[in-house]
């Protein structure tokens, strides 16, 4: 009897947080939905979405952002995977200090890092534009791709690799059939840590292109902060939210397939 009651009261410890989550996580998201479907007098409207889908500027920015995010993620993966692999496999004898040096920039204020990049560009007389944007994005997000992959490869059960080699697989086969598939969870979280932030970032984009190029995050921020088009900004946030939801559902199904 004591036991049962005790367990019962222990769950009450979570109540403050559950209330907090409701007030400051669930309610704010509800606010996005409410504002997205209202005009500035508070009446129900779909105009905010009509505005998004009929104005080529907004919808172009959306797809342009996806494109930039796609290429950033791809470049980060292509540069980051070999680095993570070399550091994660003990046979390359890379010191942990070197591995830590890759992670160090991650704990560094990203705006400062971006400004440093911009300064280097201006030092080298490189005009700011799409090229510098891509470079800066990769520069900013590369550690976020390397870290999860490095983690997965390092923690991988190396005896599987040895077993494959003993059974006659060569280096290439071991890599393609064992190491790469086993590192996929790290790759997935690397992609998640690079793709969405690239779409939604606005300060980095603004600084890297002197506001010449706008990504989806930039137009959300502009509309919200202007105050005039608050509801339109909310609608854009809502679109982004739906997009996040869809990508996460996709990720979930991927996970289920992995388990099979």
């Amino acid at each position: 009897m004591f036991h049962f009651n005790d367990i019962h009261t222990r769950s009450r410890w979570a109540w403050p947080y559950i209330i907090f989550l409701f007030c400051f996580v669930v309610m704010p998201l509800v606010m996005i939905v409410i504002y997205a479907f209202e005009d500035n007098t508070g009446a129900f409207t779909l105009n905010n979405f009509v505005r998004f889908f009929t104005r080529s500027e907004a919808i172009n920015t959306f797809f342009y952002s996806l494109g930039i995010a796609f290429y950033t993620t791809l470049v980060c993966f292509l540069l980051g995977f070999p680095a993570a692999y070399f550091m994660g496999m003990e046979e390359y004898k890379v010191s942990t200090v070197l591995a830590m040096l890759f992670i160090l920039p991650m704990s560094f204020n990203s705006l400062l890092r971006t400004i440093a990049t911009v300064e280097v560009f201006s030092l080298a007389n490189i005009p700011l534009g799409e090229g510098t944007l891509m470079f800066g994005m990769v520069y900013n997000f590369l550690p976020f791709m390397i870290y999860p992959i490095y983690n997965t490869i390092q923690k991988m059960d190396k005896s599987v690799i040895e077993a494959a080699r003993d059974l006659g697989a060569n280096r290439k086969e071991v890599f393609i059939k064992i190491i790469f598939p086993l590192s996929m969870p790290g790759v997935y979280s690397g992609i998640a840590m690079v793709f969405m932030p690239t779409v939604s970032t606005f300060a980095i984009t603004e600084l890297l292109t002197r506001n010449k190029i706008k990504l989806f995050g930039s137009i959300i921020q502009e509309n919200i902060q202007s105050g005039v088009l608050l509801n339109y900004g909310a609608a854009l946030s809502f679109i982004m939210l739906v997009f996040i939801l869809l990508t996460n559902l996709f990720n979930k199904t991927e996970g289920v397939n992995d388990e099979k």
Binding site: I18, L111, T117
Partner: protein
């Protein structure tokens, strides 16, 4: 022994070379900032002789004042938010652990939302909530916002400790004559402490590094953290030169921390 399994020296050198080049590329901008923190020029790339002027300016100069306020705010907000997040998150993890699994899964699902959401969505959603409720934005709003995105990580840090804890530890302590509060402070808390510490440190790092959420919740009364200060500064064009020594100091401190942690863990392995 088995020749075909040995990695050839060329591969090893190639790998090291690749890593070195990549690292150098990553560190060029940081190096430029550090080098030019030792000269007083306003514009980067224009070396005007060695000087520690920027360092003294940072701490005692006129230019450093608003910057110092921003640094103070950053540290203050980070400490308060990390402390409250650790408290709230640890209590939550404890409670969630003893909740029926259906409710537990739902709470943990909501707990994931701030982790998955990009900063801008967290920022915008809280901005709209504060606007709708007429709550003025400012220090309190920023701290609440930081607790929103820090606490989920604390929960995730503490939960594994609870799962590792022997199921009847609490009952065992009670049976051995400890009072419930003694059990809590002397048995349960020490078990959870490593998770709480990593949650706290992670919260500090997240809070210090945050930009977007702070921007949307700081209001317009001139409250600035380091991130929003840098943003406003860079928007005006030109970076306050005093940011360069600050950048250098932060970098050196992080580097030292890293080396210390590395050596300690190595020592740990040897022991």
């Amino acid at each position: 022994m088995m020749k075909n399994n040995e990695l050839s020296i060329y591969r090893r050198i190639g790998a090291k070379l690749y890593l070195t080049v990549l690292l150098l590329a990553l560190y060029v901008p940081i190096a430029v900032i550090i080098i030019f923190s030792f000269t007083q020029t306003k514009v980067l790339g224009n070396w005007t002789g060695f000087s520690l002027g920027l360092y003294t300016n940072l701490f005692i100069g006129e230019a450093g004042h608003s910057l110092n306020m921003a640094i103070f705010n950053t540290v203050f907000i980070a400490l308060v938010a990390a402390f409250l997040s650790t408290l709230l998150g640890t209590m939550a993890a404890f409670g969630i652990f003893y909740t029926r699994s259906r409710i537990r899964n739902k709470v943990l699902m909501v707990n994931q939302i701030p982790i998955i959401n990009p900063d801008i969505i967290t920022g915008v959603s809280l901005f709209l909530l504060f606007v709708a409720l007429g709550i003025s934005r400012g220090m309190v709003a920023v701290i609440i916002a930081h607790i929103v995105f820090c606490t989920p990580y604390v929960v995730l840090c503490v939960m594994p400790r609870l799962e590792k804890m022997p199921a009847n530890l609490y009952e065992a302590a009670i049976d051995l004559g400890a009072t419930p509060s003694q059990t809590f402070y002397k048995v349960i808390i020490p078990e959870l402490l490593p998770g709480m510490v990593s949650g706290f440190v992670l919260s500090l790092a997240l809070s210090i590094d945050d930009f977007a959420v702070t921007l949307f919740t700081k209001g317009s009364d001139g409250l600035n953290t380091l991130s929003t200060y840098i943003y406003a500064d860079a928007r005006k064009g030109g970076l306050t030169p005093e940011l360069r020594p600050l950048f250098t100091i932060i970098f050196v401190v992080l580097l030292i921390l890293l080396v210390v942690i590395n050596f300690r863990s190595k020592k740990h392995e040897e022991d």
